[in-house]
């Protein structure tokens, strides 16, 4: 099941060239670009593992692409995303985030309904890894 989160996730996967252009856009806006990876794409799993430090003071997307290439070799079967952090006062948050690597077999997200008090129900999601 194709996991959709962040920007562009309803589009076909971005090519390296397209990723590079998006990173270029982030750098033009003075956002610090960082890479994160995880094998647990549950929507509530907000904090992924960081790959190295966020990259400040970059002028060219090549630096990010080099790190991405290394991260892909180390974690080919993980989700990898690019985060662009805006340090401007008032934002101070991630302004853009998109997935740049997916495992061959993506887990299924399943929803479970549980009856609780009275007739109310609670919903929970589970990422079911196959095999």
């Amino acid at each position: 099941m194709r996991i959709t989160q962040g920007c562009f996730s309803f589009l076909p996967d971005l090519s390296d060239e397209q990723i590079s252009k998006q990173v270029e856009y982030c750098l033009e806006n003075d956002w610090a670009v960082g890479l994160e990876y995880t094998d647990e794409p549950h929507p509530r799993n907000t904090y992924w593992e960081m790959w190295g430090h966020p990259m400040f003071d970059l002028k060219d997307p090549k630096g990010v692409m080099m790190e991405l290439a290394e991260c892909r070799t180390a974690h080919p079967q993980s989700y990898i995303r690019v985060n662009a952090f805006d340090s401007e006062r008032g934002f101070e948050t991630v302004r853009m985030s998109f997935i740049v690597n997916r495992p061959d077999n993506e887990p299924r997200l399943t929803m479970t309904r549980t009856d609780v008090h009275g007739r109310s129900q609670s919903y929970s999601w589970q990422a079911a890894h196959r095999g």
């Binding site: 190295g52 430090h53 990259m55 003071d57 970059l58 002028k59 060219d60 090549k62 630096g63 990010v64 080099m66 790190e67």
Partner: protein, 318 residues
């Protein structure tokens, strides 16, 4: 050359997809290279061999670019350079211009200069060097990496020195990312030679060796005038003579660093001028008085009494 221009005149509206001729002089004008070379001539005193080499390099790159447009060459030429020369001969300044030049010619994408020394590349403990070097390289991508006093990267007396690791990463990136960044090494000529002979990999990856000569006394004087003019100061005629004498004497004293020594001398002269004005002036001062360096501001320098006391021969060691 003339043939090419004629061809262009014959076919004024050749489709851009199938270019079959290139007008070099138009390229030269349009790429903005001319402005940079003119600027170099105007703003940098002396350095004739350096300017000549840069002119040649620019011509080579322009031709190479034209060849690429005609589909004659596909490889990026090796652009890594080595600047050798004594301290204060303008290596950093020229590197800055060089990055601008390469950017105008389209050989680097962004054209910024990242200036580093050993401390920025080499770590303190095992496993610290590689991330540190890579961090710097990532910042330099799309621009020029200027490594000042590059020979400090290699310490022959310590075989466990982490500098070797930085050198290996640098070499790898210089080879694999030739499209992405240009590395300029800088340092004193003799030490750079020793550095290259112990790291032959570096020498073969560097195409352009540019040697920066020392400035002559006259050039140094012109530089001092230029520096003062930049800050809206001027010499009195007596101060001019004093400055010329100062340069003459300073050259033979220790720690002489060409233009940098001049800059420091002028900074101290301005300090003395401020002091002089403060102590002697009673009543209002006009702009001319505030921006004039007088003879005594320069004559009071220790250079005229034979340099720093500790540098004098026969002086008791502290």
């Amino acid at each position: 050359m003339t043939e090419t221009t004629e061809q262009i005149a014959d076919v004024p509206e050749a489709p851009s997809a199938a270019i079959d001729s290139v007008d070099l002089s138009a390229e030269f004008r349009e790429s903005g290279v001319k402005e940079i070379l003119d600027e170099l001539d105007r703003e940098l005193v002396g350095l004739l061999p350096v300017k000549q080499r840069i002119r040649e390099t620019a011509a080579l790159l322009l031709v190479e670019r034209a060849r690429k447009q005609l589909g004659l060459s596909h490889q990026t030429p090796t652009l890594h350079m080595c600047f050798t020369g004594n301290p204060g001969t303008g290596k950093t300044t020229v590197a800055l211009r060089m990055s601008n030049l390469l950017h105008r010619l389209g050989y680097v994408r962004k054209g910024h200069l990242v200036s580093v020394t050993r401390d920025d590349l080499v770590g303190q403990y095992i496993g610290h060097t590689a991330p540190k070097t890579k961090e710097v390289l990532k910042r330099a991508m799309g621009g020029v990496l200027f490594i000042d006093e590059a020979y400090y990267l290699y310490r022959p007396d310590n075989e466990r020195d982490y500098g070797q690791e930085a050198i290996e990463i640098l070499l790898q990136v210089m080879e694999n990312n030739r499209d992405d960044l240009v590395v300029i090494l800088a340092g004193y000529a003799d030490r750079m030679d020793r550095f290259f002979s112990s790291n032959p990999g570096f020498r073969s990856r560097i195409a352009h060796h540019i040697d920066f000569p020392d400035y002559t006394n006259e050039e140094l004087y012109l530089i001092s005038e230029g520096m003062l003019a930049e800050q809206n100061y001027a010499f009195t005629p007596a101060a001019e003579t004093a400055m010329r004498e100062y340069i003459d004497l300073r050259r033979n004293q220790s720690h002489f660093a060409n233009a940098r020594s001049i800059r420091n001398a002028l900074d101290r002269a301005r300090l003395r001028q401020a002091n002089r004005l403060f102590e002697s002036a009673n009543g209002p001062l006009d702009a001319a008085a505030l921006s004039t360096i007088d003879e005594q501001d320069i004559r009071m320098s220790r250079v005229f009494s034979g340099g720093l006391d500790t540098d004098k021969p026969g002086s008791p060691r502290p």
